[in-house]
């Protein structure tokens, strides 16, 4: 057969316009863009961008997938069935007329821009309801707790750093920011990087000093570190006690303290994942305390920053459980609202109005309204490095509406300024530590050997943007010793049972997790359900912490979870 001949085609794309904006998926503020050829959207990389030089993380690379995704919601749903916008509006108006102001609750979560949150605060005031809460309960939202006297880090601080402290897996939270950190690390052989984490992540491999703490005890190690950097930080800081609680060696912390002293310019960065940290506000503040002791700026890596509402989410849960909420308006990310296993209280609410970009999976009771994606509207806000403006990357999908038009059904919704940051003093952090020690003591009394094959389950942030959105996440990381104990080998199967759910996983034997600890990704619904919502006794915030589970060897193949895009958008 003759060889097939065809030319190498460098398609002429000079006339193709790429739309430019700031990526809305996290606060790193990368410049991202898409090209539209009349049929599909494709990513465009703007190499002149200051923050990211055209580089994007897996999530940022999914922007075009979001725009063209087959699971986009483009018609209102009533109890899982298609309905029309006019019927939806009529229904909302009827429900509103039925309920008293105190029976209405409004919750906002990830995906709502700052101006929209301000309008929701104005709306709650106008409607006269006290039930306005922030539903973004991922630990990262506790970076809103800010220690007085700590400066925000800028890009220049990272570039000129000689001493870096990374708490948690910063690289996987913001891969694009890691490039400057690695450049700083390699710039001079004297430069130092310290990593504090409970899991030996890939990031830990870049550290000069990797402080591996017991899961959930990062704040104790950090407080001890702060006290070692700044002796006389505060009376009541018992370094030896904290070192013991964190399960680390004092000498290692002393060495880290020497690396991070005030003489060295640098920064402290922190990241918190769902299912990975206990007491997130304390965690955030302890990192900031190290920054203050070492005279360094601080940056908390997160996807969004939302102010808490006048009502705590925990109190709203209680009201829902009592049945005193008749109409719930939930807008933004659907976690934990659409998780019946985690928030059974929602079943007691009579009428539900939710908004979504994707068709919710599993379906949500009540009314679900299709909104334009973040990429299809203009907004303004803050990134870690300063103010950003976002312009629409594409025209709104037919059938969707802008959030403001839905708000009009409820009321006038004039903007009401709302402070996002909760300031805290250093003495409060030390007091928090004392209370956390007591909490740790009562946990220790809860004998881990009582339940057979009991382990602590941690959450892991995995790369997303793959297979449409993310991998199936049907693997559990198991330490070698635990694998022997429960008699499973690599690629064997384990059933993990938590108080809220159970799921089968394929085993990956690894030294990344310590003995007694297992780890699963937390992007898919089935895995998130394994982590019950907890109330953080130190602050009253609801959070998702490491959770004790029992494990059992099984023989069967786990069923792939499929894709569930609503989990993270």
């Amino acid at each position: 057969m003759a060889k097939v001949e065809w030319p190498d085609r460098a398609e002429s794309r000079a006339e193709m316009n790429a739309t430019r904006t700031t990526c809305p998926f996290c606060l790193n503020g990368c410049t991202s863009g898409v090209e539209f050829n009349g049929v599909v959207h494709q990513m465009h990389y703007f190499t002149d961008a200051e923050v990211n030089k055209g580089r994007l993380c897996p999530r940022g690379n999914s922007a075009n997938i979001v725009l063209d995704h087959r699971d986009r919601l483009c018609r209102p749903l009533l109890d899982g069935r298609d309905t029309t916008w006019s019927e939806a509006e009529a229904l909302v108006r009827t429900w509103l007329a039925e309920v008293k102001p105190e029976e209405l609750a409004v919750v906002y979560s990830r995906g709502r821009a700052a101006d929209e949150v301000r309008r929701l605060h104005g709306l709650a005031e106008e409607l006269g309801t006290p039930n306005l809460a922030c539903g973004h309960i991922e630990p990262e939202n506790c970076f809103n707790y800010r220690l007085e006297g700590v400066r925000d880090a800028g890009l220049a601080d990272i570039e000129s750093a000689t001493a870096m402290l990374l708490v948690g897996d910063v690289f996987s939270t913001s891969p694009v920011a890691s490039w400057r950190m690695l450049d700083a690390r390699y710039k001079d052989r004297k430069n130092r990087m310290v990593v504090v984490d409970s899991v030996r992540t890939r990031q830990a491999g870049f550290a000069h000093s990797f402080v591996q703490v017991r899961p959930g005890t990062e704040p104790f190690a950090l407080l001890a570190l702060a006290a070692l950097i700044e002796s006389g930080l505060a009376p009541g800081v018992d370094v030896d006690r904290y070192v013991e609680l964190a399960g680390v060696k004092r000498q290692q912390l002393e060495a880290a303290a020497a690396m991070l002293g005030p003489a060295m310019p640098g920064f402290v960065a922190s990241a918190m994942h769902t299912g990975r940290v206990r007491h997130p506000a304390f965690h955030s503040l302890a990192g900031q305390l190290v920054a203050r002791a070492g005279v360094k700026p601080f940056v908390g890596f997160r996807e969004t920053e939302l102010p808490s509402g006048p009502m705590r989410f925990a109190d709203l849960r209680r009201k829902m459980a009592e049945g005193s909420i008749k109409l719930l308006f939930w807008t933004g990310g659907l976690f934990p609202f659409s998780y019946a296993e985690l928030l059974p209280e929602a079943a007691k609410v009579e009428h539900i109005v939710a908004t979504s970009i994707f068709r919710p999976e599993p379906p949500v009771r009540g009314l679900v309204l299709p909104l334009t994606a973040e990429l299809e509207r203009a907004s303004a806000g803050r990134s870690y490095w300063g103010e950003v403006e976002r312009s629409p990357l594409a025209a709104p999908l037919s059938g969707t509406r802008q959030f403001g038009r839905v708000l009009e059904w409820f009321g006038r919704a004039a903007e009401k300024p709302e402070a996002a940051v909760r300031p805290v003093g250093a003495a409060d952090v030390v007091a928090m530590a004392a209370r956390a020690v007591d909490a740790a003591r009562s946990e220790a009394a809860d004998d881990p050997d009582r339940v057979p094959n009991r382990v602590l389950l941690l959450g892991e942030k995995k790369a997303i943007g793959l297979r449409g959105f993310h991998d199936p996440e049907d693997e559990v990381s198991v330490n070698r010793a635990d694998a022997e104990r429960v008699e499973v080998s690599n690629h064997g199967y384990l059933m993990v049972k938590s108080p809220t759910a159970e799921r089968e996983f394929r085993v990956r034997v690894t030294d990344a997790v310590p003995a007694g600890v297992m780890m699963v990704g937390t992007n898919v619904h089935a895995n998130r359900c394994l982590f019950p919502l907890e109330k953080d006794e130190l602050t009253g915030e609801v959070t998702v912490a490491p959770t004790p589970v029992s494990v059992e060897k099984t023989e069967s193949m786990p069923v792939a979870s499929g894709e569930n895009p609503s989990v993270w958008v």
């Binding site: 001949e5 190498d8 690379n61 690894t510």
Partner: protein, 155 residues
């Protein structure tokens, strides 16, 4: 001839390269993470070999190397999806899964004057598109290391 080179010491395993390729081709990525030695997880892409075995194995000679650009390309139009190329590739970088009845092979993004997407998106600059396929010069005292999936230095 330009090639994609990986600096393992900068790769953080974020899989952005994979995501960029996948978001373009809406399916299997043509650069994927694989285990190197027993433990290290690093991106693996097409080498665009001088004597490509995938091309030799293709019964319809659909895979052709362009001697000027060095790009080994496959004509999707003529591909019958027999998977011979996937089996023949000594580096295992052609995914065995078919998409729209065709095998998926890296084109070095030759539809794009700016160069490969995976390189352009790599957040740390670990992937480079360069004339020189040797490792970059070592800076004094700074070695290039291969890291395991959980961060240990292997070599």
């Amino acid at each position: 001839m330009k090639r994609i080179v990986l600096r393992p010491d900068y790769c953080i395993g974020c899989r952005s390269c994979e995501a960029a390729c996948r978001s373009r081709f809406k399916g299997e990525a043509r650069i994927r993470h694989g285990e190197v030695t027993t433990d290290a997880l690093l991106p693996q892409g097409c080498r665009h070999c001088e004597e490509p075995l995938c091309a030799a194995a293709c019964p319809f000679q659909v895979i052709v190397r362009n001697p000027d650009t060095g790009v080994v390309r496959k004509s999707d139009f003529h591909c019958v999806g027999c998977r011979s190329c996937a089996l023949a590739c000594p580096f295992g970088v052609i995914p065995p899964a078919l998409m729209r009845h065709m095998s998926q092979k890296c084109t070095l993004c030759s539809d794009r004057p700016e160069g490969p997407r995976c390189v352009q998106t790599c957040p740390t600059g670990a992937l480079q598109f360069t004339e020189d396929d040797r490792m970059p010069e070592k800076k004094a005292g700074v070695g290039f290391a291969v890291r395991s999936i959980h961060g240990r230095r292997l070599a």
